[in-house]
Amino acid sequence: MVRVEFLGPIQRETMELDIANLNELATILKDDQEMQEWLENSAVAVNDTLVNNRDFALTSGDRVSLLPPVCGG
């Protein structure tokens, strides 16, 4: 199982999914109306490293994080 976490202001429970890559996560989330804006403006990390490729392979135990727009300081 892959754990999917929504950080900061995204009000969403952590999900446990049986997915093999980020494309599959995108497919699962694309029908969720409330998530569309977050999907457009959030970055994605796998095991705390930012990734830029939807084909990125996932294996059981991986953690995916969605990071919405930031404003530290």
């Binding site: 900061g8 980020l22 995108a26 694309k30 930012l50 727009p69 530290g72």
Partner: protein, 154 residues
């Protein structure tokens, strides 16, 4: 060194500690940037969420960039609520000579603003409201969006 505190920062005490820590390190230049909560738009204060694992990695990368220039960096940030006129952020660079410090503090603070995994909320009427308009999407954002999917198919 990256320090996270619950609530506002004790600025004078942190700057003192950092200065004294490097007192014998033979750095000729020490530059520090302090961010303080301004009274504007009727807010009572700000509040911060931090995702520490990625913040630590971000900081370690900047520490490496600093070392490559013979410098070191430090940073302190608040978690949770910080009220008006209190401070939430300190960034510092120590370097042998001034040019590196003056240039590095700018790059380091600007990339912090654009990339560090910290989320800011306005405090108003006891509510915590995400400061969406003032926030910046991290580079590479939108990876999971439909439009990104279409872009890749083109």
């Amino acid at each position: 060194m990256l320090e996270l505190y619950d609530g506002s920062l004790s600025v004078a005490s942190i700057l003192k500690d950092w200065y004294e820590e490097e007192a014998s390190s033979n750095y000729g230049a020490f530059i520090s940037f302090v961010g303080t909560v301004r009274s504007e738009d009727g807010i009572d204060g700000l509040s911060f969420d931090i995702y520490e694992p990625i913040l630590n990695k971000w900081f370690d990368e900047w520490q490496k960039k600093a070392k490559a220039k013979g410098a070191i960096i430090k940073m302190a940030h608040s978690r949770g609520d910080v009220m008006l006129h209190e401070s939430s952020y300190i960034a510092a660079v120590f370097s042998p000579k001034r040019r590196v410090a003056l240039e590095f503090i700018d790059e380091y603070v600007e990339d912090f603003k654009a990339s560090a995994p910290i989320w800011k909320y306005d405090l108003r009427d006891n509510k915590r409201i995400y400061a969406k308009e003032r926030s910046t999407a991290i580079k590479g954002s939108g990876l999971l969006s439909d439009s990104k999917d279409k872009e890749e198919q083109r």
